[in-house]
């Protein structure tokens, strides 16, 4: 076989094996990173909020997403609608990506693309 083709075949096969190994590892960790990223993918807007606003939203029935406590350090991550957002004094909009700013924030509020999801979860 041509040397270059042979090297590429080896490389691609290695990556397939590595992917299978990583997939099994991820399954073992419950896919926390993907679930965090998925939560952000559903965000129309994302806000860092302080502990007081977070506590108030919880008292009003906003549900914390399960992925937050699985992170270290733990994070409080919740979906809210535009009405709830308007009541928050501490909300600071941040870019929706896995940045240091997002990862270091202890409390995050997500305004989802589909508001009915926020409302439904908020009443649970």
């Amino acid at each position: 076989m041509n040397e270059r083709l042979e090297a590429r075949v080896r490389d691609v096969r290695k990556r397939w094996l590595l992917r299978s190994w990583e997939y099994r590892r991820r399954a073992g960790s419950g896919g926390v990173w993907l679930r965090l990223a998925r939560a952000l993918a559903g965000a129309r807007a994302l806000y860092v909020i302080d502990a007081a606003d977070c506590a108030r939203l919880e008292e009003e029935g906003a549900r914390l997403l399960d992925v937050g406590p699985e992170l270290h350090p733990q994070k409080r991550l919740m979906r809210i609608d535009e009405d709830a957002l308007a009541t928050l004094e501490s909300a600071q909009a941040v870019d929706i990506r896995l940045s240091a700013e997002v990862l270091s924030a202890p409390c995050l509020a997500i305004v989802p693309f589909h508001p009915d999801v926020a409302t439904r979860q908020g009443k649970q």
Partner: protein, 240 residues
């Protein structure tokens, strides 16, 4: 000469091989060709990927001598280089026979052109022929064009650009395309479905790259695609 002219000139110069039955234009130039009027506003790659069914390798090789504006690369057996200004290079990639496992990978070697056949390219299906300037460009269905990139392991800048190619296709996808994509997705093994969802999630969080579709303005479209994929799963995600 702008990129659109170079792409169209390359397609015209490659007509002898593009006219072989079963051959498809694949890869990074697909979003350019699917733009309205083949606007080709994205400069994703300086190469045109030509998908060759493994059984048609001999036919394609026989037509290579009719492509006077290209010559084989000394370094890459699957690449033919332009011999004139204003053309992109051609990269020949093997399409597997039906029923080939997605993880399969094997070379098909010839005297003038060799290529690797990737099992994942079996996700591509022939689509509508694109007619432009008297040329007939064999295109795949959009669903396969997106899915074969989403099942692949991606990393680094190249990975990001490949995902933005998916976005470029998704932006022109209609309901039928999305249904085909979801149906094909549902037939994949767990590991590859995970890769598809993982890559689509990464795509939704990408930052803009010059010359590529802007992901920030298309995040809801990507989110809706994720919701479709998750709906196809036996157990819907908590986070949808």
């Amino acid at each position: 000469m702008d990129f659109r002219q170079r792409l169209l000139a390359t397609l015209r110069a490659a007509e002898p091989v593009l006219s072989v039955p079963g051959v498809l234009v694949i890869g990074s130039e697909l979003p350019n060709l699917w733009q309205p009027g083949v606007a080709s506003s994205l400069v994703v790659s300086e190469a045109l990927d030509v998908g060759v069914p493994s059984h048609a390798h001999g036919q394609v090789e026989a037509r290579l001598s009719e492509m006077s504006l290209f010559a084989p690369s000394d370094d890459e057996p699957s690449v033919w280089l332009p011999q004139a200004d204003g053309l992109l290079e051609l990269n020949f990639v093997g399409l597997p026979e039906p029923g080939t496992p997605l993880s399969e990978l094997y070379p098909v070697e010839g005297e003038r052109m060799s290529m690797l056949v990737f099992g994942t390219l079996g996700l591509l299906r022939p689509g509508r022929v694109l007619e432009i300037d008297g040329m007939r460009i064999p295109m795949p269905q959009r669903a396969g064009g997106m899915l074969e990139k989403l099942v692949s392991e991606r990393s680094g800048l190249k990975g990001d650009r490949d995902l933005l190619v998916v976005l470029g296709i998704l932006m022109h996808a209609d309901e039928d395309d999305l249904e085909q994509l979801t149906e094909a997705y549902a037939s994949l093994p767990d590991e590859l479905r995970h890769s598809v969802r993982s890559n689509a999630t990464v795509l939704s969080l990408l930052q803009p790259v010059a010359g590529m579709p802007d992901p920030l303005g298309q995040r809801e479209r990507v989110h809706d695609l994720l919701c479709r994929l998750e709906a196809a799963e036996a157990q819907p995600s908590e986070l949808t």
